[in-house]
């Protein structure tokens, strides 16, 4: 697979992610979150999982990002600056990253090159979903319905 594309994409993704974590303006941060997700989706494409990438874009850009900006607008009172970064958190994050990277680099078994990809068609995914993953699918459906109803109930104005 294409290494240049990979490098560019990962740089983009991580930069956007960092922006998300640090930008002061909430709206900018949110948009950069969207960019992050686009980057991740592109990485998925690179890894030959087009379908998942498309689903990711579809769900996150199309729905979740919009939801988030809406929420930001609805809770507008203290939008604007989001002050006072928490340095302990930053340190902890860096520590975790260090630990993980160290562990990954120590592990030799993951230093492998991708085998030749047998393209994963949507048809195959569909068959898998409908045969061996049908119960999880049903459960997710129920879960989503429950989440929908729950969210509605939560944001309904309580009559007083």
């Amino acid at each position: 697979m294409n290494s240049i594309a990979f490098v560019l994409l990962s740089i983009l993704t991580l930069a956007a992610a960092l922006a998300t974590a640090t930008l002061q303006k909430l709206m900018h941060a949110t948009l950069s979150f969207a960019v992050t997700l686009v980057g991740v989706a592109a990485l998925f494409f690179l890894l030959g999982a087009e379908f998942v990438g498309l689903v990711l874009v579809f769900v996150y850009i199309g729905a979740v990002a919009v939801l988030i900006v809406f929420t930001i607008l609805l809770t507008r009172r203290d939008v604007g600056k989001d002050r006072g970064a928490n340095w302990g958190g930053a340190f902890l994050a860096v520590a975790v990253f260090g630990g993980l990277t160290w562990a990954i680099l120590e592990t030799q078994s993951v230093a492998i090159v991708a085998p030749h990809l047998r393209t994963l068609t949507v048809k195959r995914i569909g068959e898998a979903l409908m045969t061996s993953y049908v119960w999880p699918l049903q459960c997710v459906g129920v879960l989503l319905t429950a989440a929908l109803i729950g969210a509605l109930v939560l944001v309904m104005e309580e009559k007083r």
């Binding site: 290494s3 990962s10 974590a21 909430l26 990711l56 993953y133 989440a147 729950g150």
Partner: protein, 104 residues
């Protein structure tokens, strides 16, 4: 050079810890949520990467898990945001520092 699994894992680790950073350092409730979403995305990246680098052909387990986790993340986002709005209605703030009524 073509990227090895290692590189992917490192990238996803970076993404993960960035999400952690967002979740820890931000004061705005929504951004904690966003941080969690980012961590989930990193996890999905891991799944996909491991599936890709596993000996082919092979049942697309990683892909499946990624799809499901995306669906669940969407549900989580919806409920979480609804919660944020509900909280905002009560306390007129979304700053998690001020939302500590549950202290012991």
């Amino acid at each position: 050079m073509t990227p090895t699994l290692q590189i992917f894992l490192v990238v996803s680790a970076a993404l993960f810890s960035t999400g952690l950073l967002a979740a820890l350092s931000r004061r705005h409730a929504i951004f904690i949520l966003i941080g969690i979403e980012m961590m989930l995305a990193a996890a999905n990246l891991n799944f996909i990467a491991f599936w890709r680098f596993s000996p082919q052909p092979q049942p697309p387990t990683g892909v499946m898990i990624a799809i499901f986790s995306i669906a669940i993340a969407a549900a989580e986002a919806a409920v979480g945001l609804a919660l944020v709005i509900a909280v905002y209605r009560h306390y007129r703030t979304t700053n998690v520092d001020h939302l500590d009524q549950l202290k012991g």
